[in-house]
């Protein structure tokens, strides 16, 4: 249809009994665009920092397979997406000026014909969430690296994932994914991210600890060069360096030589896992004796090293210990608590903390989680937590 003229606008003002003298001279005549608008565009409410990221030219990505709820990822954060309804009508108008913009633009045209690009009565809301990283470990465990001797590694790439593959499959930001890969000691072999099969990892670690012992090196000063020379004939040099990086802290001395300060807690913990995975449970004191004898000379074992890996049953006589890995438990909060309460009816805060710590959202405490998902009571003078609902 024909666009409105100044005369028509003025006539409307007279009918409305509005005094043009009290108004700014410019008027926007709003009409609906050719597509009508509904369904073509939607609104996404931006959390702090995201607007600046978009304006700086960075992208946001929506990730989720058909069976997953969509999340939005920036470069380093992950957000849940939820539709929020409003009882009002939201119209999006390009080129619509605010009073400030009109006042500063003296030459502004008297009539601004603005087309409404779209309208909606809802928008996407974002809420920062924990990145969904359990799937990352699951994918990499489909085909753990067992060493170069195993011929099968040359063949299939079906269960092998590049960085790009992981970015498209994991509901997390790139930085969160790369950080988690480092946490689980993954490495790139032939362009694919791999985790080491546990037995192979222990074999590599054993080479290193035996060498440290035979060379009588200090645990804080293990030389990279000599390790590669001595162990090179036995294993690929990349794997030797990888195991040193996983279980030690790298540093360079004044002469430019690379050394590793071995991580006592991590080594003792790995050796405990090796011992514990062979049976359902162990007599605690027997285990502690064997464990201390199995770790490198100069290292001391402590049950503190096993948080999130093993659980002590203080109620049994004699006391026992069994493997319980937090990474094997469900990722969802309610499912995690259900699983923990089905393993043990009542937990002390000290015992349960390592198994729920990773559920804490930004600024959320373990205490807040316990208040929400558990019920507390006193048992023999000690505060314990149990399920809020009956566990079948």
């Amino acid at each position: 249809g024909a666009m409105r003229s100044r005369a028509e606008v003025d006539a409307t003002l007279r009918t409305a009994k509005l005094n043009p003298g009290e108004l700014l001279p410019a008027v926007h005549c709003l009409s609906f665009g050719p597509q009508g608008g509904a369904g073509e565009c939607c609104l996404l409410q931006l959390e702090a920092g995201l607007c600046a990221e978009l304006q700086a030219g960075r992208s946001l990505v929506i990730r989720g397979e058909k069976d997953e709820k969509a999340v939005l990822c920036s470069k380093d954060k992950t957000y849940d997406m939820k539709i929020a309804d409003t009882s009002n009508m939201l119209l999006f108008v390009p080129g619509c000026k605010t009073p400030e913009e009109l006042n500063t633009d003296e030459a502004s045209c008297n009539i601004i014909h603005s087309q409404i690009a779209g309208f909606s009565n809802n928008y996407w809301e974002l809420r920062r969430c924990r990145p969904k990283l359990k799937k990352l470990r699951k994918l990499l465990m489909e085909d753990p690296y067992e060493g170069p001797d195993i011929g099968k590694d040359q063949t299939s790439t079906a269960s092998k994932y590049t960085t790009e593959d992981l970015l498209s499959l994991i509901q997390a930001s790139e930085e969160e994914i790369l950080h988690q890969l480092q946490v689980i000691d993954a490495c790139v072999i032939d362009g694919y991210w791999r985790v080491l099969e546990f037995d192979y990892e222990m074999k590599l670690l054993n080479h290193v600890t035996q060498l440290i012992d035979s060379e009588s090196w200090s645990l804080n000063k293990v030389p990279l060069r000599t390790c590669l020379e001595e162990l090179g004939p036995l294993e690929p040099t990349e794997m030797i360096e990888h195991i040193l990086l996983s279980y030690g802290r790298k540093y360079t001395d004044d002469a430019g030589e690379v050394y590793f300060e071995m991580r006592e807690d991590k080594i003792c913990r790995a050796i405990a896992q090796m011992l514990l995975q062979n049976a359902v449970k162990f007599n605690l004191s027997e285990f502690q004796e064997v464990w201390q004898q199995s770790v490198p000379e100069g290292m001391s074992t402590s049950l503190d090293q096993l948080k999130g890996l093993a659980l002590v049953d203080k109620a049994s006589r004699p006391e026992t210990i069994f493997l319980l890995k937090v990474e094997d438990l469900p990722e969802d909060n309610q499912e995690r608590f259900n699983s923990l309460f089905s393993i043990r009816e009542k937990w002390t805060e000290v015992d349960i903390t390592p198994y729920i710590q990773d559920l804490c959202a930004e600024k959320q405490t373990v205490g807040a989680l316990l208040t929400k998902y558990a019920r507390s009571s006193m048992q023999n003078g000690v505060k314990v937590y149990n399920s809020r609902r009956p566990i079948s």
Partner: protein
């Protein structure tokens, strides 16, 4: 996966404005919405938005949004799934919450 690119190429993202109205928008006389007129938007010299829609006057206010919006536009569907692009940012809204004042066109004559 859907990538929402930020401001691609030269120039920054367009800034649009949100107009928030109560109730639903219906075309006049039962016609189609596309192409039809909504109304005239004026501002008073104090910066108050005034919207004349049909026989109603709406007074509103300019609100700087605490959380800006990104306008996502759907691209043509392809086998990989639905794709959206960020078309514009919205940092300001014109909120019309007041009850519309009807425009009285016939004043009864005194007898």
């Amino acid at each position: 996966t859907t990538r929402l690119p930020g401001s691609a190429g030269a120039g920054s993202l367009e800034q649009w404005v949100l107009v928030e109205l109560q109730g639903e928008v219906e075309p006049r006389g039962g016609g189609a919405l596309p192409g039809s007129l909504l109304g005239d938007l004026h501002y008073t010299r104090e910066g108050i938005p005034v919207l004349i829609v049909g026989h109603h006057i709406l007074y509103g206010k300019v609100v700087q949004l605490e959380k800006p919006f990104a306008v996502l536009m759907k691209q043509a569907a392809d086998p990989a799934g639905t794709h959206y692009t960020v078309t514009a940012l919205i940092k300001t809204k014109l909120l019309f919450k007041t009850r519309p004042k009807p425009i009285i066109t016939n004043v009864p004559k005194k007898v």
